[in-house]
């Protein structure tokens, strides 16, 4: 029953990597992560060093992935921009999970608060993600922290809904009743008995939110309403490259590939985790 016990079972990793695609995605994602973190060491050039002579230089030669309109090295910019894009994705996954867990546990545990919290979650989810994020960033102002806050507000209701549904089931199980009878406090039961048993669906959902948040961040930056345009992210790189799309499509091509590959890996990892943590669904595939 216990999900944390499930994760310790010897079969977990084998189940996770049963599908080759999951293993490959994990490796690719880790490589991207390492490259981005090690950007200061491995980037071939200073990402903001301009060179008028080499503006819009095609990929190859000194510029592996070409140079942008200011003659800046695209590969180096991609690596540094990845730091921002991945930080936002990861930050949103974490913040949204924490906020969602709090609201979901409260709604699932305290019957009187269930109605109001669930209706607010319904209402929040009625707003399309990009639209709500645009409005929030417009009000809060565009900075990395504000984009993380805005996207966390957008995605926290998804976690809250899952946590609430799982809490409702687990609250009725005998071991919770036993804990109550033993005089455990509500807070202790919520964290030690309920939360520990719903970790796996939260991890799965957080992985997907990591992916969605990266897509949403790219969308916001492309629209010019995301992080400050002077901070390179994969989205702002596409936005900047847009005016040169006819002469230098590679300016848009490479950041697009970077986003797509990262998001695809995260989605496949999420799928793999879901199957490995819930063997019932795994058989269906």
């Amino acid at each position: 029953m216990s999900a944390s016990a499930l994760a310790d079972e010897p079969g977990f990793l084998e189940a996770l990597f049963a599908r080759r695609a999951v293993l490959v995605s994990l490796i690719v994602f880790l490589v991207i992560l390492a490259a981005v973190i090690l950007a200061p060491l491995i980037a071939p050039a200073d990402p903001s060093a301009m060179s008028v002579r080499n503006r819009l230089a095609a990929p190859g030669g000194d510029y592996w992935l070409g140079a942008d309109a200011f003659g800046r090295d695209v590969l180096s910019r991609l690596l540094y921009a990845g730091q921002v894009s991945l930080t936002i994705g990861c930050g949103v996954a974490l913040v949204a999970s924490v906020v969602g867990i709090v609201f979901g546990l409260v709604a699932g545990f305290f019957r009187r608060l269930d109605g109001p919290v669930s209706r607010i979650v319904d209402a929040m989810m009625a707003f399309p993600d990009i639209l709500l994020a645009i409005a929030l960033v417009a009000i809060l102002g565009g900075s990395m922290i504000n984009v993380i806050i805005a996207l966390s507000i957008v995605y926290a209701p998804r976690i809250a809904r899952i946590v609430r549904a799982s809490t409702l089931v687990i609250r009725e199980l005998p071991f919770v009743e036993a804990a109550l009878a033993l005089g455990s406090s509500t807070g202790f039961i919520m964290i030690n008995h309920v939360l520990r048993n719903i970790v796996s669906p939260i991890i799965v959902q957080a992985t997907f939110i990591f992916a969605y948040a990266m897509l949403a961040e790219a969308g916001l930056s492309f629209l010019g309403v995301g992080v400050d345009p002077s901070t390179p992210t994969w989205g702002t790189m596409i936005n900047e490259g847009r005016q040169y799309i006819d002469q230098a499509a590679f300016l848009i091509f490479f950041p697009g590939i970077a986003i797509s590959v990262s998001v695809l890996c995260l989605q496949l990892i999420g799928d793999g985790l879901r199957d490995a943590l819930d063997p019932r669904i795994a058989k269906e595939l």
Partner: protein, 313 residues
């Protein structure tokens, strides 16, 4: 059943009220004076005071809230600062391209996703099934604006198969306008087909394992009839649900796609409104879209009553 419908209507009203409340709160999250923010740094304090007065920002918050909700329920979403026109009129003027774009791309998504989803489930595990799921996964991972830019660059600019951007100008004929929506609709349709494909496949898989499908087969029914008459009919409910849910995806996609193809729709309007700090327009768009979403999902729930005779509330 009437009771169920009434209950759902009341539930919907509550959610719409909450939507209004959230839209109200969001604008008040602004650090500092919203009036000064909207007018930008060049505005004089007198102008800010005048705008504050006009927007009713000097009233106590509860009074502001009540009059905001009251006005919204009567269909008054405030006045655009930039256009100096009612928000509803500004939105209506931009609605046509967005509505058609959403509609066309939904149709394209269904044409792509439903047959492939059915076939993938039917031939589960085959290379076609595997290709279909992987492609769907890939389509859901690529930013829609990136696909849009690439299609625009190669299919419109280079090959000239489609108009590259715009909406045909102010006096364009209806068919010219629709012609400008073909490529954007294809882009958005491909992006949205991913979710529908996965849902169609999953719900067909559920149904194909049912006893009555086996019974139909053992009666000697042709495979076509088994799949289309028995299985698809019962798989329709989850498919309808996901169509309701894709509305949000369609709108998010439309905002970005309109920006790529420079289509003067609601998505373009809301992004310009952000750059112009025209808060009433942002707020109004949020309210209209979220209310539509709630309404469409109520409709899809009610559609179950028609599609599945087993569903009784």
């Amino acid at each position: 059943m009437t009771r169920y419908i009434v209950q759902r209507m009341v539930g919907m009203l509550v959610v719409v009220l909450l939507v209004l409340t959230i839209a109200f709160v969001i604008v008040r999250l602004a650090p500092g004076d919203p009036a000064a923010l909207m007018l930008g740094p060049e505005a004089t304090p007198a102008e800010a005071a005048e705008l504050r007065e006009r927007l009713g920002l000097n009233e106590p918050i509860p009074i502001q809230y009540l009059s905001f909700v009251g006005n919204a329920l009567r269909g008054d979403l405030g006045t655009s600062i930039f256009f100096n026109q009612p928000v509803t009129r500004v939105l209506l003027a931009r609605a046509e391209p967005t509505v058609y774009l959403a509609l066309f791309s939904l149709i394209i998504a269904l044409i792509i996703a439903v047959p492939i989803g059915i076939y993938a489930a039917y031939r589960r595990g085959s290379w076609l099934d595997q290709t279909a799921i992987s492609t769907a996964m890939l389509a859901a991972s690529v930013p829609s604006f990136w696909t849009g830019l690439m299609f625009q660059r190669y299919l419109a600019t280079e090959l000239g198969w489609f108009p590259a951007a715009g909406y045909g100008g102010p006096d364009a004929d209806f068919w010219v306008r629709m012609g400008h929506l073909v490529l954007p609709s294809i882009v958005l349709g491909i992006v949205n087909s991913a979710l529908i494909l996965r849902f169609t496949r999953a719900s067909m898989l559920d149904v194909l394992g049912e006893d009555y499908v086996r019974t139909a087969r053992s009666k000697g029914m042709t495979e076509w009839r088994v799949v289309l008459r028995h299985a698809l009919k019962n798989a329709a409910i989850p498919i309808i649900t996901v169509i309701g849910l894709t509305f949000a995806l369609l709108v998010s996609g439309a905002v970005v796609t309109e920006r790529v193809f420079n289509i003067p729709g609601m998505g373009n309007l809301v992004v310009s409104a952000v750059l112009r700090r025209d808060y009433p327009v942002i707020q109004g768009t949020l309210i209209v879209v979220a209310t539509l979403y709630v309404f469409i999902n109520l409709l899809t729930d009610l559609l179950y009553l028609l599609v599945d005779k087993r569903v009784r509330y």
